[in-house]
């Protein structure tokens, strides 16, 4: 055990409150993972502290949101069913196609999906615009991720970022994971892994993941399959990976 119990509990508490910066979190995740293997008390404390952290949100008094918000949200998530493609959507889709084809030749498959899928969701349009702004920046870097054997032949994912900007994007295509499993992104530096979050592709397998961090601080990007909810450290099979 590399750290004493109290130090780990301080890390657990700070992590439950998201009170760690990126560098601290990398170190804390590694130290906590090592400590939890031999400490039942801290393993139990982890979920307990996170539950308390969620309950604390209830201290904030509920407020009535504006009436228009619900309608806006309904449109956003299309709970009323698919709608026809609007002219602006087609325009966005066209721009997406042309800019991306010109900017990133290796994304043809993703782009073909995108032009079809960008039709309705405003969120997706926003995501797409964000991605276009990144990959069309002359300083940007786009890194194709290598498909690991377990990932299967259908995986096609790239990472994009602008050096100096605290944004790293993963985009492309991944098959739907089996029930009860999610994809989890890991960033690593010198063999120490940082959990960058879990995600699921949309219903057509399209992936858009935005990670708020400076990618230059890491040397490796890895996507694994993990149980729903994610894992504290990579445990599942590698799906795609890249050297940053």
């Amino acid at each position: 055990m590399s750290l004493d119990h109290e130090a780990v509990q301080e890390m657990l508490a700070a992590r439950a409150l998201h009170a760690l910066d990126d560098a601290e979190r990398v170190e804390a995740d590694a130290a906590i993972a090592a400590h939890l293997r031999g400490c039942d008390e801290c393993r139990e404390a982890t979920e307990g502290l996170e539950a308390v952290a969620a309950d604390l949100a209830l201290v904030a008094p509920p407020r009535r949101p504006p009436r228009l918000l619900e309608g806006r949200l309904r449109r956003e998530i299309r709970v009323r069913g698919p709608r026809r493609r609007s002219v602006p959507d087609r325009w966005v889709a066209g721009v997406v196609a042309s800019v991306l084809v010109a900017a990133v030749a290796g994304l043809a498959i993703w782009n073909a999906h995108l032009t079809d899928r960008v039709t309705t969701a405003e969120q997706r349009s926003a995501n797409t615009a964000e991605l276009i702004a990144t990959v069309s920046n002359p300083a940007s870097r786009t890194v194709p991720l290598i498909t690991a054997p377990a990932g299967g032949p259908r995986a096609q994912v790239s990472a994009a970022y602008i050096p100096g900007h605290r944004r790293l994007y993963l985009f492309g295509y991944l098959p739907e994971p089996s029930p009860g499993r999610v994809y989890e992104v890991w960033l690593a530096r010198n063999g120490v892994y940082w959990d960058a979050g879990t995600f699921l592709p949309d219903e057509r397998g399209l992936v858009f993941v935005r990670i708020v961090t400076d990618p230059r601080r890491f040397d490796t990007l890895l996507v694994t399959l993990e149980p729903a909810g994610g894992a504290p450290a990579p445990t599942g099979p590698a799906v795609v990976t890249a050297q940053l």
């Binding site: 910066d21 996170e50 952290a53 009535r64 879990t198």
Partner: protein
């Protein structure tokens, strides 16, 4: 009332009644959290929208065995609020400024379920058991989205003390809320 897992599955499948049910239950909570954490209604609205979109997109990851729906929704909301806070590099908002006048809970819908209201009351009571130093550290970290180092700087205390206060505060809350649950 639908089981939570069924409700989330239906929401993921774009069932309008499931979306309305979740909205009634949580929109006021998330909006209230947004007002406290972000300090303005516009960003609180965005927080509600972003939270529901994220819940919809990640509905497949919800596992009732790992925690209640309340916990999942509020963790997602708070995590998004922290992302917003940390993008405000130049802002120096104080907690006192974010404490807007209280407003009665929304009148419509069943979101003010007795169970959630009871949990909220327990959380408030538990907060009252903290020392002023612990409470300040917890509020800055939790509602202000500050890191331990930023809490230390704002409070004028060593970082080790800030970490200890956060840890002690959270453990005391866990004990206090657990004891309340047992009563």
């Amino acid at each position: 009332m639908r089981e939570d897992a069924e409700l989330v599955r239906a929401f993921a499948g774009r069932d309008p009644s499931a979306a309305a049910s979740l909205y009634d239950r949580y929109a006021g909570r998330v909006f209230g959290l947004g007002i406290v954490m972000l300090g303005n209604a516009t960003q609180a609205e965005d927080l509600v929208q972003d939270t529901f979109v994220k819940l919809w997109r990640s509905a497949g990851a919800y596992d009732p065995a790992r925690g209640s729906l309340d916990t999942w929704v509020l963790l997602v909301a708070r995590s998004l609020a922290i992302d917003t806070l940390r993008r405000r590099v130049l802002e120096r908002r104080t907690l006192s400024r974010s404490e807007e006048p209280l407003e009665a809970p929304p009148e419509h819908g069943p979101e003010a379920r007795a169970e959630t209201a009871d949990l909220a009351e327990r959380a408030r009571r538990a907060m009252a058991t903290l020392t002023p130093g612990q409470r300040a550290a917890l509020e800055l970290a939790y509602f202000g989205g500050k890191t331990s180092a930023e809490v230390a700087e704002l409070e004028g205390i060593p970082i080790g003390t800030a970490k200890t206060r956060i840890r002690t505060a959270l453990l005391r809350l866990r004990e206090a809320m657990g004891a309340d649950r047992a009563m």
